[in-house]
């Protein structure tokens, strides 16, 4: 790690193919700034992504990265962090990737509490497959596969995370660059699973959850003197219908999985042959 890392060092020379105006630009910028602000550099950072618009992030960032299969980015990140706890692991997903196909992994990642950061670009629609409803779409949201609306409740990602004993639960809005950066940075600094759901508007397919909608409705929990260490207060924030940004819940006593299990060595370091005492393993079978 070097102290003179700038966030642009995390930028690759590839131009994003996200639509002009896509919320994901702002989401990614905040992620890169948060990484740089916390003293990381591309060589000690591992970014994992799934499939969809969010999944492209590894191409546009410069770091060690893996673009995986749909919905499975979290387990990959857990594997990376387990094997080398010196790495800064950041996982990025979308609302479809993370809350539909990957919902099971999300719940287990929250309760497992590995020391890593999970940033979800939530645009409440499937963009890359051209406009179907997603798990976070509103009940009456008309799309190509829901002409009369999905007629089912949207997933509440923050509630899922709280129910699974998530230790850091936050939400941000990609267009509020300053706050988004601060919130992601707090997630990176958190000892444990730092989860940020980011409102990241889709300008092409979602004409409901737009920049204007969020600008007009979003409320910063800091303006309401919210105490993020108060679980009951967090539950109230998560279940009322307000669109919040900020850190909703943080367990300040969080002890991450890797610490609980003593995962403190780089598993890449192995001897040239069997371990010195390996014959003891054979003797166990006498």
């Amino acid at each position: 790690m070097s102290s003179d890392v700038r966030f642009t060092d995390f930028k690759s020379d590839k131009q994003p193919t996200w639509c002009p105006g896509c919320g994901d630009f702002g989401t990614m910028n905040g992620m890169m700034k948060a990484l740089a602000n916390t003293g990381n550099d591309p060589d000690n950072t591992f970014v994992v992504a799934g499939i969809g618009c969010s999944g492209k992030i590894g191409t546009y960032m410069h770091s060690y990265a893996l673009h995986g299969v749909h919905g499975r980015a979290l387990p990959v990140g857990i594997g990376v962090k387990s094997a080398n706890p010196d790495l800064e692991v950041m996982v990025s997903g979308g609302d479809g990737d993370g809350y539909s196909i990957g919902a099971g992994h999300f719940v287990h990642a929250a309760r497992r509490n590995m020391d890593m950061t999970y940033v979800v670009m939530d645009n409440r629609i499937y963009g890359l497959t051209k406009g179907q409803f997603s798990p976070t779409s509103r009940e009456d949201f008309e799309t190509s596969t829901s002409p009369d609306g999905p007629k089912q409740s949207p997933v509440n990602p923050l509630a899922l995370a709280l129910a699974a004993d998530g230790t850091f639960i936050a939400q941000s809005f990609s267009s509020d660059a300053q706050r988004h950066e601060e919130i992601v940075q707090q997630a990176v600094e958190h000892d444990g699973f730092g989860f940020v759901n980011v409102y990241s508007p889709c300008v092409t397919f979602n004409d409901v959850d737009t920049y204007d909608y969020f600008r007009d409705t979003i409320v910063d929990v800091e303006d309401e003197d919210h105490d993020p260490t108060d679980r009951d207060a967090a539950r109230e924030k998560i279940t009322n219908d307000t669109e919040y940004q900020g850190v909703i819940y943080q367990d300040e006593d969080s002890v991450p999985y890797n610490e609980r299990h003593g995962l403190d060595s780089n598993m890449a370091d192995i001897p040239d042959g069997a371990p010195e005492d390996a014959t003891d393993l054979v003797r166990e079978f006498y």
Binding site: I270, R283, Y286
Partner: protein
């Protein structure tokens, strides 16, 4: 073989059948006898017939046979289930005071030996030890020194305190004395020998786990599934001693993706599952190959398809491991043929994975997984273990692999198909990779020329491996025989013993056991040289026969078994002769 002893205990699941069987197997092993065990069990926790069989001899034993000498029957059904294997002189031990057996009378020629198992166990301190009373009785019947059993009980109950050990040893003694008082040992005709040989006793799953540690595996992620779970249970607690970690995941998808993540971070990583789990992992299997990540994926096969028969033997996943996954996926498929080969092939699998940066299927089966077998400890020679990490590039060499813009090229199209690999944390090596088709930098592309270059590059790895490694086979029997028998996986042991039975019928065979399924040895010359070629496998359609026919353009005869039970040596000898032009009677 006069010194052979075929012993079994059977009852309901939950009766402690497995632990009793294992204690007896360990007692025999500690007495320098060779042991081979097998289990019949149902897919339930309590209830349902279950049995643990131990065959032992002073000679090497490689399989089960259709013969039982001493049977501890905790239920009437145990006798019924094993009637075909009982013979004149077989001894049946049961609790004469238990109502379920009160009308029991041993069939003609068999020795009916009621022992008050439960009462004697209570005398020793608790009814729970009734199986141990039976073990003591069995020692007397076989004229087997009971101090070997004492040692096995110490090993089994060592962490439960001296009084538990004492009670169990007392229970065994009461069983022994009861038989001494009530019966004349000479009635039984068994007089088994002990030797000074040192043996270790372990099963295939344990051998895979031990091989993984020897090979430097540091991360294991898996979801419990029969019959692969023993791999995880073996590794848990042991892998941690070496700075590694065992992660029980939420599902098989998570298991393979975590292992992939750990492998990308530089750990030697593995997951193990059985057929249904392999199906779930198939998508990520493609990603492993496409991202060129070294990973060992172990499939301990059981009967399929779907949930099939979870606790029964089958070799039905060969096609899945050879061809599974969408698109075309370069891979290696390695299949151990014995418990000890489970150890050796696991080490090889890790080396292939890293050397060629590919997924490696390590294909075992239920018969290997649950078979405990004795080996000379030298068969697990830890000093001989070599670890080859392939083209792992450190900071000192990284400049060689940067392009003009100082970008690391993880998918550089080297002539041998193997690109340099650098681990996260390596300065100057930052790069991405993806399941999408990509260029040499790992970035998505649909350029036709790059697509062809990268596909050829990945496939070239297999071609390079075909040239660099020895994809050989294990051979037994008479190498000049007109009859050639081929098999893969756990059939090797039964077939090796079948050669002996066939010899007695004047049938000479050459037997080739193939541990490499892809790449696999070219068997054209061997097949050409034989009159009859018979392929033995535990599946209905002959998946291995199909691929060998494809390789050699020759029709082969097939001996298949798919009732859920592994081949037995005597049975296999008979099935082989049935395929010959002049079938022979096999004396057993």
């Amino acid at each position: 073989m006069p010194d052979d002893l075929n012993w079994a205990i059977g009852g309901e699941a939950g009766d402690g059948i497995n632990s009793t069987g294992k204690i007896f197997a360990q007692a025999l092993s500690r007495a320098g006898r060779q042991v081979f065990t097998s289990k019949d069990f149902a897919s339930r926790i309590r209830g349902g017939y279950t049995a643990y069989k131990v065959r032992s001899s002073t000679e090497r034993v490689e399989s089960v046979v259709d013969r039982l000498d001493v049977l501890i029957a905790l239920t009437q059904r145990t006798v019924e289930e094993n009637m075909d294997e009982l013979h004149e002189g077989s001894v049946i031990i049961y609790d004469g005071e238990r109502t379920m057996m009160e009308d029991f009378e041993a069939p003609e020629g068999m020795i009916d030996l009621p022992v008050p198992l439960k009462s004697l166990a209570e005398d020793a301190g608790g009814a729970i030890m009734q199986n141990i009373v039976a073990l003591g009785a069995a020692c007397e019947i076989a004229n087997f020194p009971i101090d070997n059993l004492d040692e096995a009980l110490e090993k089994r109950f060592g962490d439960k305190g001296q009084s538990i050990i004492d009670n169990n040893q007392e229970a065994a003694r009461l069983g022994e004395e009861y038989v001494q008082e009530e019966y004349d040992r000479d009635e039984f005709g068994y007089n088994i020998e002990t030797t000074d040989n040192d043996y270790v006793l372990l099963n295939g799953d344990e051998a895979i786990g031990m091989g993984a540690i020897a090979a430097g595996c540091r991360f294991y992620s898996g979801y419990p599934i029969t019959p692969a779970t023993d791999v995880m249970e073996y590794l848990k607690g042991r892998l941690e001693r070496y700075g590694g970690h065992v992660m029980q995941t939420e599902d098989e998808l998570s298991a393979i993706n975590m292992a992939l993540g750990a492998a990308r971070a530089g750990a030697r990583a593995m997951t193990a599952t059985s057929g249904p789990g392999i199906d779930l992992m198939a998508e990520t299997f493609g990603l492993v190959a496409q991202s060129e990540t070294p990973l060992v994926i172990c499939d301990v096969m059981r009967s399929g398809p779907s949930t099939g028969m979870p606790t029964k033997q089958e070799q039905g996943d060969l096609n899945m491991t050879l061809f599974g996954g969408h698109g075309e996926i370069p891979r290696f498929v390695v299949a151990p043929t014995t418990v000890s080969e489970c150890f050796h092939k696991t080490i090889e699998a890790f080396n292939y994975a890293e050397k060629y940066q590919t997924p490696v299927y390590l294909v075992s089966d239920l018969a290997l997984a649950v078979t405990e077998q004795t080996f000379a400890p030298e068969e697990f020679d830890m000093d001989a273990v070599e670890i080859d990490r392939g083209k792992l590039v450190g900071e000192d060499e990284i400049d060689t692999w940067l392009n003009d813009s100082d970008q690391f090229q993880p998918h550089f199209p080297a002539a041998d198909g193997i690109s340099p690999r650098t681990l996260p944390g390596t300065s100057g090596g930052a790069h991405m990779t993806t399941g999408l088709e990509h260029d040499e930098l790992g970035r998505r592309t649909e350029e036709q020329e790059v697509r062809i270059e990268q596909v050829d590059k990945r496939n070239q790895k297999v071609e390079t491996a075909k040239e660099e490694e020895e994809w050989d086979y294990r051979e037994f029997g008479d190498s000049d025989a007109d009859t050639l028998v081929l098999s893969w996986g756990s059939n090797e042991g039964a077939m090796r013993e079948a050669i002996g039975f066939l010899d007695e019928a004047d049938v000479s065979v050459r037997f080739i056991s193939v541990p490499y399924l892809f790449p696999r040895p070219d068997l054209s010359d061997e097949i050409e040289a034989a009159d009859d070629v018979i392929v033995v496998e535990c599946n209905a359609t002959g998946q291995f026969a199909d691929v060998i026919e494809h390789d050699t353009l020759t029709r082969l005869k097939r001996v298949n078994k798919y009732n859920g039970v592994r081949f037995k040596a005597d049975e296999l000898a008979e099935r082989i002769t049935e395929e010959l032009d002049t079938p022979q009677e096999v004396p057993t």
